[in-house]
């Protein structure tokens, strides 16, 4: 039978009479855990910000018609040249439409696919922005803006105006910030664009788009799908690209292959980008954990020393307790429960301090061209980090206290009593 009450009572008395050691040990854990929480929150915050920056701007699967030469050149139809190596000069790409054939049925079909979170149609058009006699080449992308905003974070990059302004304005345009600057245009002003064929259209600036990447912002603008179709003089089913978001990003490569065959289009999945990206994420996670674990090990050594000292000081007490009927395990539990108290109190304080520091970082101004919607440093308040941190606190104190407590368990009371 274990008499927990009296064991805890003794542990508590030791802790409170040696308040300085207790506080020192707890502070070690507190700092270790606080640093862990702060680092992890900050690092994962940064990670997901970078995820947003790169991954969310990219569709999981991109359907389009690739311009490329036929894989079977006419010469392969001739049996006479079967054993020869044909040399063909000046291969031209196959005559092909940029338009995705049957785009509307494909969109309908995709919406029914349960792996697909959503699919948005796009029409990419090469245009010129006109300002007096100056022509600036650029891209005008026709989008279904409501669908687009659901599937990508395009609205984060609209620095002025809103998606609704575009939706409600038939000939509206979300102008790239670089073009707007060059042409000194602002919301409400008109801009003239012309197609490659020379047809001119007047559009109304309803918003400014800023991705943060100058090369994009200098050419890219968005308009409603119908507007662009009208500019190009094409029908309502003229769609050049379909962007797909999946429920599970890891399905992208497999599904891309399936869709490629099913719809007879080219499909590119996000996986290549993702693979490069994950390396960075992993390295950052590694640093976070390495630093945190180092801090906890340092805290653990502090606890180890303090517990060892405590046991050395309490040698007489241990001998007496054993003489009056406490078993070695009882004594071990006394010291382990002290460690548990240090771990729990230090851990909880560490979580609170970590939350405070995280909150502080959360409010530190952080302005960057690349991320127009972000004004402070990104942090992540994932509760899982707090649970892991607390678990870490308990684990490190337990390991640190285990060996000293085992020593206490094995102390021979006779030696101590005789020694005096």
């Amino acid at each position: 039978m274990r008499s927990w009450k009296v064991i805890l009572e003794i542990a508590r008395t030791h802790l409170f009479t040696k308040l300085k050691s207790t506080v020192t040990a707890s502070i070690g854990v507190t700092f270790g855990i606080a640093a862990y929480i702060t680092l992890v929150s900050f690092m994962t915050g940064l990670n997901s910000m970078l995820d947003d920056l790169i991954l969310n701007q990219v569709p999981h699967i991109h359907l389009y018609n690739e311009i490329k030469p036929s894989e079977n050149q006419p010469i392969s139809l001739y049996n006479e040249f079967e054993d020869a190596i044909p040399i063909i000069h000046s291969i031209k790409p196959r005559q092909n439409q940029r338009k995705i054939h049957n785009a509307l049925p494909i969109l309908n079909d995709l919406e029914k696919n349960k792996n697909v979170k959503g699919a948005s149609p796009q029409l990419q058009a090469q245009i010129f922005y006109l300002s007096g006699t100056i022509e600036l080449g650029g891209n005008l992308t026709g989008v279904d803006i409501m669908k687009e905003s659901k599937l990508s974070n395009i609205q984060d990059y609209i620095t002025q105006g809103s998606i609704l302004d575009l939706k409600n304005t038939q000939n509206g345009i979300l102008l790239g910030s670089g073009i707007a600057e060059k042409m000194s245009l602002s919301i409400g002003r008109k801009i003239m664009v012309s197609t490659a064929q020379g047809d001119r259209f007047q559009l109304k600036v309803v918003g400014i788009y800023q991705s943060g990447i100058a090369e994009i912002d200098n050419i890219q603008s968005f308009a409603n799908l119908k507007t662009v179709q009208r500019i190009l003089g094409e029908a309502e089913n003229y769609i050049t690209d379909i962007n797909i978001k999946l429920n599970d990003i890891t399905q992208a490569p497999a599904l891309a292959k399936v869709l490629e065959r099913k719809y007879n289009v080219s499909a590119k999945d996000i996986n290549e980008i993702n693979a490069q990206f994950e390396t960075g994420t992993n390295v950052r996670n590694l640093i976070t954990y390495a630093v945190s674990i180092t801090l906890l090990i340092v805290a653990g050594f502090g606890i180890y020393n303090i517990q060892n000292m405590l046991i050395y000081e309490k040698m007489n007490d241990i001998a007496i307790l054993k003489a009056i009927g406490f078993s070695g395990i009882d004594v071990q539990f006394i010291f382990l429960s002290q460690a548990a108290f240090i771990g729990i109190s230090g851990g909880i304080l560490g979580l609170i301090l970590g939350l405070g520091l995280t909150n502080f970082i959360d409010n530190v101004p952080f302005e960057t061209e690349a991320l127009p919607t972000i004004t402070t440093y990104p942090v992540n308040y994932n509760p899982a980090n707090y649970i892991i941190g607390f678990f870490f606190a308990l684990l490190s104190t337990f390991i640190a206290a285990y060996f000293p407590s085992k020593k206490a368990k094995n102390i021979d009371p006779v030696q101590i009593i005789r020694g005096n």
Binding site: H14, D317, A323
Partner: protein, 224 residues
């Protein structure tokens, strides 16, 4: 009368390389309600014997019985329980837990045994302290009382679980003659009133003479 404690051919050696034979063929017994004393020169092995009898030292050959039950070879937790329940030990140097109050020190073994409620234990501990004339010290820190007082607290602690055997290693050794006599009287009363068995090492010939029986140790051997 039945034997409370009995040893059969207990031998103990110190050291491995050049073993030193400390206890030689110790066979003895303590009867129920007997007050026995042990005398012998310094270094004759008295303390060593007491540590074995109190079950704290298990590194010996031979057999030790408590109430006709073989104790030798039992596991550490079992021995702890036996010490807790059946044996009271008073050290030469009043070992108390200095950070606990006098009352808490006395209550500890009973709380460990866990047979009574904390209120009952507190009451009994207070009764014991009062009987030993230190009732007024109950809430003092154990480190802040005199040597004679400490020794009486140690007696109270040894008695709280109503043991069958009380073992003392020169319990009066550190006390002045007044306190020494006082403690002796207390122990004698316990034997007379409660039928407690006692085994006490002493260097005081007069005290030894007033016990029921004196065992003489010389060079680790009992002599008659």
């Amino acid at each position: 009368m039945s034997l409370i404690l009995e040893t059969k051919n207990i031998n103990k050696y110190f050291g491995k390389a050049k073993p030193f034979h400390v206890l030689k063929d110790i066979s003895m017994g303590i009867k129920q309600g007997e007050f026995a004393s042990i005398m012998g020169k310094s270094g004759s092995g008295k303390s060593t014997l007491l540590y074995i009898l109190s079950t704290m030292d298990t590194d010996y050959t031979g057999e030790l019985f408590l109430q006709d039950e073989l104790v030798t070879g039992k596991s550490q937790p079992e021995l702890s329980h036996i010490r807790n329940e059946k044996i009271g030990f008073i050290f030469q140097f009043h070992y108390l837990l200095p950070e606990f109050s006098v009352l808490e020190n006395v209550m500890l073994p009973a709380k460990k045994l866990g047979l009574k409620t904390p209120e009952e234990i507190r009451e009994e501990a207070m009764d014991l302290l009062k009987k030993l004339n230190i009732g007024h010290l109950d809430s003092q820190k154990a480190s802040k009382i005199s040597g004679g007082e400490k020794q009486r607290v140690a007696v109270a602690r040894a008695l709280i679980n109503e043991p069958i055997l009380l073992i003392g290693d020169e319990p009066t050794g550190n006390l002045d003659s007044y306190n020494s006599e006082n403690l002796f009287q207390i122990l004698k009363t316990l034997k007379d009133d409660k039928g407690l068995s006692l085994l006490m090492v002493t260097h005081d010939e007069d005290l030894a003479k007033r016990t029921d029986r004196t065992i003489y140790l010389e060079d680790g051997r009992i002599i008659d």
